[in-house]
Amino acid sequence: MKMLIPFGLILLALLLITGCQNQNDFMGVNVFTGTEGLVSEFMVNSPPLQVYEGGELQVGVIARNRGIHDIEKGFIVATIEKDYMEFVEGDGKVAIKVVGKSIYNTRGDEIYEIFKVKAKKLETQSRIHETNVAVTSCYDYQTWATPVVCVDPDIYNVNTENKPCNIQDVEMDSQGSPVAVTKVEVKMLPSADVIKPAFKIYVQNKGGGHVIDKNRIDAVCGSGSLDYRDWNTVYVRAVLANTDLNCRPSPLRLEHEEDFVMCSLDAGLPKATVAYSTLLNIFLDYGYTSTISSKVTIEKEVLP
């Protein structure tokens, strides 16, 4: 029995240790890293490099969601030169939903889309024609960053002892999404009776595509008009201890190498509040688009 007690303690300790492990890591894999969203690529030999006139070909696309967000609204559209090719079925545009990475699905889901295309007849005197096939994906996405920040209303550092934390900036790399929060600067702004915690949140597009307005996803993957505001628009929401912060500008437009948004707790904290560490939940909502392309050479089957 005496031997069982230490063994039981060791087992309990192991359980505790395991239970306290970071939820984001599963079997050593942190799914909240990476700068990719939906990654598209052509299937092997699809489209082929060459096709004879009148022949059919397939434009096959594999789209993998390598980010942490589940795509609920998205489109894949294939663009072909309609003077030389035509879709056998459909119009080249499909809606998609793709589940992202999670601790249970560390690679993210992938979908397969195949567009059946037929090459038209070439002009009589032409032997070959090189044409461009492009596939564009447009989808909504979200970045979720959770930096641990120190909130310390004692801006004059009166109480120098027993502070659980000190104010400091938080550097971040990526959060498993193409748009990343790269840095959070923590500031305590004095007001009349309170101290207003403020956070300067730096945002950067680290993916290979372009940020679009999440509300204009359909338009971007269509032929309709776009406004400049439809590009590089990110909606930012920051929550500090279950309280939404006031973020400006809103929405944020990514136009420089490093763009930032200031989020503050307008209600403020009493100056007597003791410093504490807490999670700052940052949500970036946006749309994202990227294009891949390939050349297809249409050849005359029989030379005259």
């Binding site: 559209v77 309609k82 005197q125 070959i128 492009a134 590009w231 005259p304």
Partner: protein, 943 residues
Amino acid sequence: MGKTRLNGEFFDKELMKILRNQGGPSVEHRTLDAKESTVDDKELELAKEEKGILDEEKELLKNAKKGSGKKGGGSDDETEIPAKRLDTFRIFMFLVIIGCAGGVLVAGNSIVQTTLVICAGILFIAEPYLAPFLKDKLKILGKPETVITIFKVILLIGIIFIGDQGTQVIVLGLAAGVFLLLPSAPGLFRRIKNHAQKAPDWKDSGGSMGSLLFKFAIAIAVDVADFFIGRIPIVGTGFDIIQTFIGYKLWGGTGLISGWEIIDITDQLDGFVPSLTILGFFSIVQHGFKPKPKEGKQGININLRQPGSVLVKIIVVIFFIAILLVGGLAAMPAHLYGGEGVLARASRTVSTSVVKSAAWIKDNNPITLIANWIDKRIAIASGSFYEGTVEENKDLPLGVYLKDLKPADPQFWEDEEIIVWATLEAMTIEKPVNITVSCTADGVFADNITPSRKFNISSYEQQLLECKFNKETVLNKVKNGAKNVRFNANYNFETMSYLKTYFMDTERMRSMRRQNLNPLDEFGITDKYPIAIFTNGPLKIGMETLRELPIGVPSDLVSQREVVTIGVTLENRWKGRITKINSLEIQLPDSLDINHCDHPFTAAKKAEEAGYNKYELDFTKLDARKKAKLENITTYQTFRCWIDVKDRTSLLGKDPISTKYIRLTADYDYQSYETTTIYIKKIEKGSGTTGGAGSLYQKGCCAKESTKCTKLQSDCTGTSFWSAEMYCTASDSAKNGQCTSCTDICNTQTQCPSSSVKLVDYGWCCESSKCETGSLSSCPIPAVSEQFDVTAGSNCLTDERISQILTAANSPAKDAYAAFNRYAIQYGIRSDVALAFFNKESTYGTAGVAVETKSIGNVKYSGRCIGKKMTVNGVDWCGHDTWEQGIQDWFDLIKNIYVGQTFKVKTVETIVPIYCPAGPPDYCDVQGYIKNIRDYVSGYQTP
């Protein structure tokens, strides 16, 4: 040792000091027999490195030898040949000979002959080293000088007589001979060289390196001009004289050596030798890079005789060998000629060279080429020339090709038929091609072309053509001398072209650009600046959109429909011309529409392909000037169209970016040609088996008594001979081709029958001893090199022939055919020329403004006009109620304004530049116009 032994002689060291003071620190010569030399080897090496003194030393030493009364040693064993160094003058002459060899080869002579010329050059340069070799190794052959001289004579004979003849060769041989023999004539050589050296040299004039470079630039420019202008006979000789003067100014006495080019009276060889540049180089070699340094200052004197200069010399030699190789590759191996004297050969070669040069210059006139090039650059710079690239079928020989022109013999007698062969190769993919082949010798059409004059090709075909000129045609029309034989292939052809364009919603495009996104990059489009791609053939269709791509399509089409302008250039790609554009079709996506073009395009009823609208050039709405510009295109023509968006939704579809194609198809007539040169030998009077020079014989094959002659040389027997001077009378010729009395008559073509008959083909009546006016003999068609006098004849064609031509052309003036000869006789102007102008100006009244004005020459209104003022397209024309009046008006214009007091010109070559000037307001292709007139007139003689 108080004395140094040189060449078997002893000189005082005092003399050596003098020589040193004159030319350098060390003066040493060695005898060819090293054993006899008493000069220290090290000193000899030093002597080799000295510059600019050795030749003078040699002369001094030779003079000294003469003074001592000894010549070249006393015995054979002591025979000492002066060691001639590889001096610059010798190298220069070697390069000249090499350059000439290139010219010989290019001029059409044989490789054997060229090799002999090169051998002469090598012998010349190697002689100083050959002599000791012969002396040491081949004593058995005799004295070295004798052996070398024998070699030279053999080479000289080979160059002149074994080669392919001609003045070029004679001149070259003589020139080579002079230089080969120069070492044997030291006095002449020395005098030339001394004179050159006494003359002021370039460095004496002072100046800087900058001025030296400037001089080199002038030298190069003059040499380049010599290559082009200097090869025009006679003009080239004048140019050579000027060049010699420039050479003297540039390089002083050394520059006078460029005068050697004057010797080449053919002007075909010296153009290949950049004499001024070479002389400049050697002048620098001789005198250093720096101008004469001022006293007290020592400039850096780069001596090209130093080892480093060898590289420069090698480069120069390689340069000339390259010229030779290029010339050789371009040259046609010549054929052997038989049995004629040197002078006759020279004469023939000169005339052949002249004709060949004239033809070459005509096709490659550097001034025209440069003018066209500049014109094209300006057009490109000003945005009025649009590019295109040939489609991937470029390897398919689409079109019609004339290849391998080859006369059956390089020279013919004037009483034998001429045969020239050519290979016709034709390939088409879609539309059948109708080919009409013609063959001319100096504008005279061939009598027969086998297997046919016309071909219809639906895919691919190759035909061996044989063009034959009958004996009579050769004798009476083509005549003797050097002649250009030209094969023409007229055919219809079709070229298609397409231009890729990208369209995108304007706001979308702007929004992307504002975000620094290139729309084309975003969709993986690499062909960002597409130019037209056209199918292979003689016509290039260039097209470009005159806006940056993608083209924005506005959502508001009411305020802005016109979105894009396209520029189109039709350019002649091949040797030939686009004689006529038959149709021009633009196909646009059905979502687009032509707003307007600077040529009238109208919508066709039905497009060939679904989704496209077709627009055709409306020739009926095309004014005469623009229509004329679409004929006989030898360079290019450009026009623009402004395109509207008709259906935005259809144009953009559902894609973010839409790719559309604009297509253009041209159906046209093209004329390809190739030329070759033949030589027709004249049959000397009295050169038959009997009779002597200066005797008068009749035309035909005459017996010794010259009272009986037949028409053909083939009738000659062993006792008769051929004479081409006189003709049998008509009555005589009826007697089985035997004459009893020979008197000249007007008919030089056909033996007349005994009774009067009208020869429709040639348009005159021939009675037994009388010809009516208006015979063909009074309407000659001069050679291209001669002026075409429009007053030399009047009614040159029969009324029937004129009627036939007008009817065939479906001319509205066909009922007025008799007016041509009537007014031709009245005004003394050739009717065939009038008809040719009628064809040129309005295709016999079927096109352009002439349809309305009834003016056969599109004559503008003036107080002289026989008719009335008629305004069409804003221009006042001389209009007529009847075609007869229009015909009379043209004759009146030419007679009273051109030939008469106003302009005082009477040849086609002088009339046309005024009639249809190259400048404003007509911007005519004057040379093309003249050529057309000549071609048409020649064509009228062939039914």
